[in-house]
């Protein structure tokens, strides 16, 4: 009896995704479904590179803004250099085609996104003068929009993590 062996579970072709079967919409939906984890990962790559680079380009403003954060202001320089470096590093690590590197980077990305979401929520609830130095067009979002944006990416990241598990 033949034994079916899964080599790459999340990229395995489904028999009915063959072009000879199913309508165009169904084939497109199946194509998106099987590539959704990769699309989420590339979304993280784009987002972290964009915000990290934006912070590097406006380092003075970023550090100045960090110095005004309650309890964390004394670590403004460390946060100012550390966060963008981490974002750029994660963006690069997420494109490396080694399973354990990519998975670790995805884990770290999700944790970082969670930290940002918690920071935004605390700022929105407690801070009189709200501070957000996120970079680029993300900075121009309203607070609720920004929190919703972060939560969506957090859920997407967790979904990608689950789907890419071997």
């Amino acid at each position: 009896m033949e034994k079916r062996i899964n080599i790459s579970a999340y990229q395995q072709d489904h028999p009915t995704s063959s072009t000879k079967r199913g309508s165009l919409i169904r084939r497109t939906a199946r194509w998106i479904y099987f590539r959704l984890p990769d699309m989420i990962i590339y979304g993280y790559v784009f987002m972290y590179m964009y915000t990290g680079w934006a912070k590097f380009m406006n380092m003075a403003t970023f550090i100045k803004g960090n110095s005004k954060i309650p309890h964390l202001g004394q670590y403004a320089k460390a946060i100012g250099y550390g966060i963008p470096s981490l974002e750029v590093a994660l963006a690069v690590l997420l494109i490396i085609p080694v399973y354990w590197v990519k998975r670790s980077a995805l884990w770290a990305s999700i944790v970082l996104m969670g930290v940002f979401t918690i920071y935004l929520s605390l700022m929105a609830m407690f801070a009189e003068k709200k501070l957000c130095h996120c970079g680029g067009v993300i900075e121009s979002m309203g607070w609720k929009t920004h929190i919703a944006f972060n939560i969506i990416w957090l859920i997407a990241g967790l979904y990608a993590l689950k789907r890419t598990k071997l």
């Binding site: 034994k3 062996i5 080599i7 990769d38 590339y42 790559v45 784009f46 987002m47 590179m49 964009y50 680079w53 934006a54 380009m57 406006n58 003075a60 403003t61 100045k64 963006a91 690069v92 997420l94 494109i95 490396i96 085609p97 970079g135 680029g136 067009v137």
Partner: protein, 132 residues
């Protein structure tokens, strides 16, 4: 002692085929190229979206001239130099500083009060377009 290589010879055969399969290698490096393209795209997008701010200086507090009170009041919303400056004859219709100064000052007050005048100087080297 039995190990995975003896227990699953078929799996190892398939893994070895995939390792040396050129199509799989092309797919792998294609993904890396796509990732590099996305990194480059992110950097270009960031440059494009922040190009407007490139020639502007930074400050944390902005005071615009208010015609009703005839004093400078802090601007907390978005900065609009056209709206804040049009038809005003004041020497500096929008003043940018790093530390807050009391609302409702006049230009003369600012020049006479050392705590304020030390922060803002008419047509100094710091003059120019400002943004947060």
């Amino acid at each position: 002692m039995a190990d995975s290589r003896t227990l699953c010879p078929e799996k190892n055969k398939i893994i070895n085929i995939l390792k040396f399969n050129p199509v799989e290698k092309i797919k792998k490096y294609g993904k890396v190229l796509l990732g590099v393209a996305i990194l480059g795209g992110a950097v270009l997008t960031q440059s494009f979206t922040t190009a407007v701010k490139a020639d502007k200086k930074l400050a944390n507090h902005f005071y615009g001239y208010d015609e009703v009170s005839q004093t400078y009041l802090e601007i907390t919303g978005p900065l609009d130099e056209t709206a804040n400056c049009e038809s005003f004859m004041e020497p500096k219709c929008v003043v940018g500083t790093d530390t807050p100064i009391p609302d409702g000052f006049t230009w003369d007050d600012a020049q006479n009060d050392p705590s304020i005048s030390s922060q803002i100087t008419y047509e100094s080297n710091d003059s120019g377009s400002y943004t947060r």
